[in-house]
Symmetry: C2
């Protein structure tokens, strides 16, 4: 049975890294003593070691050890032997390039599909979708493909931002950008506000957290799905 949490963000304003997700992490990784952290998205260009240390500190609070995927000589085998996974945020292009070039995207998907718990935040959540083509990130590297794990039958737009009519700026709103995506593909997109996450439990897929999410489907008006809403029937 798949056990997956895909969160919009790792951190809420004024809080510590992963603090608001600690109860979720405790349930998701219940009975597990060690997980593998995927640090490839490297927010702000920090080192894989430093990023892993940050994740390890947050998991230490719930009694779980963390090893960085970059520390293994054979990362594919490491994923196969792991008990669970956390992929942190940063730049989605970097993350996807690395996972494809090391041929780890399919391994991570297969191991998660077997029922090993998976937590993603931001870029780490994007790769749970069908492809990375609704990321907000800059294309700072060129990945061999935009395909991702497809653990859920839709794409995510993490850090979803509502239009701010008071700001006189002519750059596209997030909604406009997602509409443009739908001129090219029919994959539904979940605009996931900060503080929300998607919880997969077997065949059930639910919106969690206190906020509603904005649902974009090709050829129809965007609409709000309330907290707790069913995302399996999109």
């Amino acid at each position: 049975m798949m056990k997956i949490v895909l969160a919009s963000t790792s951190t809420l304003p004024g809080q510590d890294y992963l603090a608001y997700l600690q109860p979720v992490m405790q349930r998701l990784f219940s009975g597990i003593s060690e997980i593998i952290f995927v640090p490839y998205a490297r927010p702000g260009g920090i080192s894989h070691d430093d990023y892993t240390a940050r994740a390890a500190a947050a998991f230490a609070a719930i009694g779980i050890r963390v090893k960085g995927l970059h520390t293994f000589e054979d990362p594919a085998t490491a994923l196969k032997h792991a008990e669970g996974f956390f992929t942190g945020g940063g730049n989605t292009f970097l993350l996807v390039k690395q996972l494809h070039e090391l041929e780890l995207m399919d391994v991570l998907r297969q191991e998660t599909e077997k029922g090993k718990p998976y937590l993603g935040t931001s870029a780490g959540s994007n790769i749970g979708g069908v492809n990375m083509q609704t990321t907000n990130d800059m294309p700072i590297v060129y990945p061999p493909s935009f395909e991702t794990m497809g653990l859920v039958p839709f794409n995510l737009n993490p850090h979803y931002l509502d239009p701010m009519p008071e700001i006189k700026h002519m750059g596209e709103t997030r909604e406009t950008r997602i509409r443009e995506f739908h001129t090219q593909q029919d994959v539904p997109v979940i605009g996931l506000r900060e503080g929300s996450w998607i919880e997969v439990s077997g065949t059930e897929i639910r919106l969690r957290g206190a906020l509603s999410a904005r649902i974009f489907k090709a050829g129809r008006e965007a609409y709000e799905l309330g907290a707790g809403g069913d995302l399996a029937i999109l």
Copy 2:
């Protein structure tokens, strides 16, 4: 002698399409009766015909006819016979994919380097840079390469937005994103605010419009360059 204008945006708040650039367009295209419009970026997914009609209306006001590049059976030859070019904004991934797949990126570069006037706005300005890797757009299609024309020795970030500390949102600021680009490449980046444009006149490259621009170079603090400032000595 190269004659190029790369503008941050086509439209200022409350104004008509290209209105603020009309004096610039008059000088840039002086003595020219017809130009080719590159409509491939398709903002909001509008048709190439509709987008070309919008550009044609704006150029009619200064007595210049506009033909859409998509209407030519042999677009490469059309570019070679053209007197000047305008590439409109929209989605940079769409624009770059189409130009590469039709093998037009190099032709457009060569014709512009010969001295035919080139106007770009937003995505159409991005392709004047070394590569498209500092675009704000979503990767809604997968281009065969991120390389662009390199008419100027730096990249652009159009619609540049300063950090807004009053907004409690944990998505990366524009400055953070450009810093992440510099963990991968050394190409300087010009954060070009709406209302600003870059003017190339032979070997001279100047910042135009009333605003300063934010200059990002790998390994040093970002700084402001005042209106009229020299961009050739970056």
